[in-house]
Symmetry: C5
Subunit: 89 residues, 5 copies
Amino acid sequence: MDLAKVVGSITSVSKLEQLKPVKLFVVHILGSDFGPTGNYGVAVDTVGVGYGDIVLITTGSAAKMTEITKEIPTDTSIVARVDNAGDRQ
Amino acid sequence: MDLAKVVGSITSVSKLEQLKPVKLFVVHILGSDFGPTGNYGVAVDTVGVGYGDIVLITTGSAAKMTEITKEIPTDTSIVARVDNAGDRQ
Amino acid sequence: MDLAKVVGSITSVSKLEQLKPVKLFVVHILGSDFGPTGNYGVAVDTVGVGYGDIVLITTGSAAKMTEITKEIPTDTSIVARVDNAGDRQ
Amino acid sequence: MDLAKVVGSITSVSKLEQLKPVKLFVVHILGSDFGPTGNYGVAVDTVGVGYGDIVLITTGSAAKMTEITKEIPTDTSIVARVDNAGDRQ
Amino acid sequence: MDLAKVVGSITSVSKLEQLKPVKLFVVHILGSDFGPTGNYGVAVDTVGVGYGDIVLITTGSAAKMTEITKEIPTDTSIVARVDNAGDRQ
């Protein structure tokens, strides 16, 4: 899983029916100490996040292991809002 | 998932029977603010897109979670045409 | 699988119910001779590790093949604490 | 999926029984306009290709979705020979 | 799949029960002409290899498609020892 920052949303008129019920966010993948990596992705929200939130994203088949995403063709889902990443060495 | 731009198509005479019914596009993966990453892929279209469109692609087992791709050996599918990616920070 | 060093933990109030029973660690992926790669991830602990430990992480669907993680939407799990990586050439 | 060029083959005496019936090729992953990326992989052939051919490869669980590879522990399969990748922008 | 060189082994006292029966090797991923890429991983051996051997590794769900690894939470398995990678262009 990766830490990421919510930096945008997606508007789409032509999309799969399966994607219509979910909210899609553009996320910036973070590295150590919440530093930016320059890598971006698009994730389905499963916890109710907003712009600027630091979140935890999961990828691959795990992205579909939630009530919200089990029928959604997503490879990346937001599964937590991160309040603190403490005690780093 | 990733944002990508449709930049080409693929012509192939010798291919798996399973791939024959679908349309394959070359896509350029985009980063923040629709900037190019220099990374490319080939994706199956599930929504009806065209050259120059900005699209949303999904990868891995999720790429096969659509009516069109469920029997297709694809690892990347186009699942939406993106009209806007707004409110970025 | 990859060698990694446990460098932090995650605190989160808003998260999926499925993630609540598990402990999440920030890990720094290591390369040859335990050297840092600059790449980080977040992993579910399945063996009981602590800060500074060198661990083995597994990714993808394999991350869910443990008693602790089988219902958890994780793409990365800690599956061993590494005591030595010997006889390198 | 990715475009790739067939650049070599693999000879192996000690291998899994499951791999014995298939032909393994070393492929060079291509980027835009068939340019080299410097990244290589090894793929199972499912369509009958030869040295120098430009091919389409699929990865992950999709690599096992063909008659030839369904029992093969491969993460990369060649699923088409590409004759042209046209109309690029 | 990737070519790799066996460069080390892993010693671990605290690990998942599932991992105890298998032998874990540190492998250096190779590129064209067996050149080093600087990328490393840890793989389960399924064919009986030793230090310095050039091997073929498979990743993801394919890593679990062998008799030895079917219950093992591994994302990378060694599936062949490579004797030659010939006729490269």
